[in-house]
Amino acid sequence: MGNQQTGPTFTGASQYVLDEELANIVNISMALEMPLLLKGEPGTGKTMLAHAITESLGMPLIVLNVKSSLKLVEALYQYDTLTRLNDSRFGDSSRDVSNIEDYIRMGKIGQAFVAEQKTVLLIDEIDKADTDFQDDMLDVLDQMEFDIIEIDKTVSARHRPVIVITSNAKKDLSDPFLGRCNFHHIAFPEPDMMRQIVRVHFPDLDNELLEVCVKTFYVMREFPGIEKKPATRELINWTRALRQDPDFRPKDLVQGKIPYLGILFKKSPDYQQAVQQIRRRRV
């Protein structure tokens, strides 16, 4: 794995425009072997960062999508009781019914531990789960091992995975949890950065269209009373739609005729508010 001085460092990837600050934080977290907790507005590239890290470092990516009902044990391993019951009743499979180990499957965290090489483990939207899950997971990630009760074995991590945790900040994470991670808040990109990001996605985009799209986008973000402001993801989808529309001219945006608002504003009250604001500005 290389000693810490000359270990692999993260310098960005092809589809992801990197903030220098963020690159530093990622490298420090990797060197300190601590999980990195990312928070930020939805749609600002938290999940994409994990993908970018794997691309840059050439490691496989394992994604654990956290659901509200997720129990820790499911993330570690699953004891497939139904298949075992099925096999014991019909008895025609190649598995040995009396050996429980055949029916233990590794969950995402388990997979990251037993992998042959170092992996990137992305734990997406951890704030969806309850605090019990978060605290229990703490212990596992700290010890880098867990027990499988059914077969009385301990699974230890062969290589410590690079852990990236994302949170949409709907609920607060507990203090002990926060204490064990490094923290970064991904701020919303400035117009310059945003232009670069859109360029990366559409290398052959017309300059005039790019300018006018980004400008209108930031104006719309300033509309008052919007609950979910359009984020990077919305801008990229919107640009794609505008580009493909044969009837669209950049002049339309300047004159205040803004099509495909539904791509930008996903909530009905927001949509209506946006329509009102645009009408007001035209007058």
């Binding site: 907790l37 203090d175 950065m193 609950e227």
Partner: protein, 397 residues
């Protein structure tokens, strides 16, 4: 190394732990941090665990490494609102001097900050000695000091710091709108709504639905198929009571109403009422408080599971709260003091919360705030207060 910096962060309110500080040193030892910019980023990622502290971190960093002025986190801010208040009063300097009990020359020799501080000291004395104490020059009988901590500048969250020195970045104060200081403003509406979204009681999908499971299994010719249900609970009913009398509450009435109206779809029922200063026998459905009275006594017939949310500054002369003829409106005379009414409401509705736009540190200065706080759990009208209030309102008991 940097121990002073660490303690300065802690003093300013950031809960940085010693363990994380040691980790910072480990990072320094490894040789990852090669300059002030790197240090800024690394220290923030390792020591500061929530974006609500980023603004304070920026200020402390700019002060420690650049000598930028550090706001005194314990003293009282003199901001725009307080300044305009002072300008109002100074239009009649003689009256102000008389009220403060100092000579006009003395008053003119004091700086605005000193004047306000003097004023507040007198205030402290007065509320303890006199019992009719909250009437101030030009305030019409309500809160003593303007709204400190309001950040009027719009949202300016920037990201890219390439090429910019850490000092400049810190001085930029990019995270100001995430900071939880200051009462709720229009700009924070989005963040506030996110907090309110938690007020929906729904459980996870872990209730075994036996009938459906049996049916699904038989349909599968004996292959076991398990069906789960989400444990649903009824959506909430909310009563919102807003103090919309007097000018001090004006900026907040609209913000609160907009906030709850936006979130209307997630509640089963939302009813809004208005009152002035405190609740007597009636609350009104119409903002002018004239046409649609609702008798407070009639709330006994309402569902006790309804969440009662009251928004007001709870600042008035104590007799308005305690005396049987306390109401400043001559028509309201029923013989029951307002405090009994408030007690009645808190007994009828177990889950209740009072939002106060006055900052927490000024609460001890007004006697009535303390009295109301003993009846209703009181929260600041900030994002943080909203968080705590929602947790309180959603608790099972």
């Amino acid at each position: 190394m940097f121990v002073d910096f660490f303690y300065m962060l802690r003093d300013s309110g950031i809960p940085a732990s010693p363990t994380s500080f040691l980790r910072l040193h480990k990072a320094l030892k490894i040789g990852l941090i090669t300059g002030l910019n790197d240090f800024y980023t690394a220290a923030r990622a390792i020591l500061v665990k929530s974006e609500r502290y980023f603004d304070i971190y920026d200020q402390v960093f700019a002060h420690f490494f650049h000598g930028a002025e550090l706001p005194d986190f314990k003293a009282i801010d003199l901001d725009d609102a307080a300044r305009t208040l002072l300008d109002e009063w100074l239009k009649d300097p003689q009256a102000l001097a008389d009220a403060l009990g100092i000579s006009r020359e003395q008053m003119q020799s004091m700086s605005p900050e000193e004047l306000i501080k003097y004023f507040l000291d007198r205030l402290k004395e007065q509320t303890e000695a006199h019992h009719g104490g909250s009437r101030w020059i030009g305030t019409g009988g309500t809160s003593p000091v303007g709204h400190s901590g309001v950040h009027p500048g719009g949202m300016r969250v920037g990201g890219r710091s390439m090429g910019k020195s850490a000092i400049k970045v810190a001085l930029d104060r990019r995270y100001r709108d995430y900071s939880l200081e200051g009462p709720l403003t229009q700009a924070q509406m989005g963040e506030a709504l996110k907090r309110l979204r938690r007020m929906v009681p729904v459980g996870p999908r872990d209730n075994l639905n036996i009938e459906e499971t049996i049916e699904a299994t038989t349909r599968n010719a004996g292959e076991i198929e398990i069906v789960f249900d989400r444990s649903l609970r009824d959506r909430l009913k909310i009563i919102l009571m807003i103090d919309n009398g007097g000018w001090s509450m004006d900026p907040y009435v609209e913000v609160v109403q907009t906030l709850f109206n936006y979130a209307r779809s997630q509640f089963k029922d939302l009813k809004t009422f208005f009152f002035h200063n405190t609740v007597y026998d009636f609350v009104w459905e119409d903002p002018p408080r004239r046409h649609k009275p609702q008798r407070v006594q009639d709330f006994t017939t309402w569902d006790p599971e309804t969440r009662l949310i009251i928004v007001g500054d709870a600042s008035m002369a104590p007799y308005e709260l305690m005396a049987t003829d306390g109401s400043i409106h001559i028509e309201e005379r029923s013989g029951l003091p307002s405090i009994d009414r408030l007690n009645l409401l808190s007994e009828l509705f177990h889950h209740c919360a009072w939002f106060n736009p006055t900052p927490l540190r000024l609460w001890p200065m007004t006697r009535t705030i303390g009295i109301v706080n003993n009846i209703f759990p009181m929260f600041e009208l900030t994002l943080e207060g909203l968080d705590s209030a929602v947790t309180h309102l959603m608790s099972r008991n």
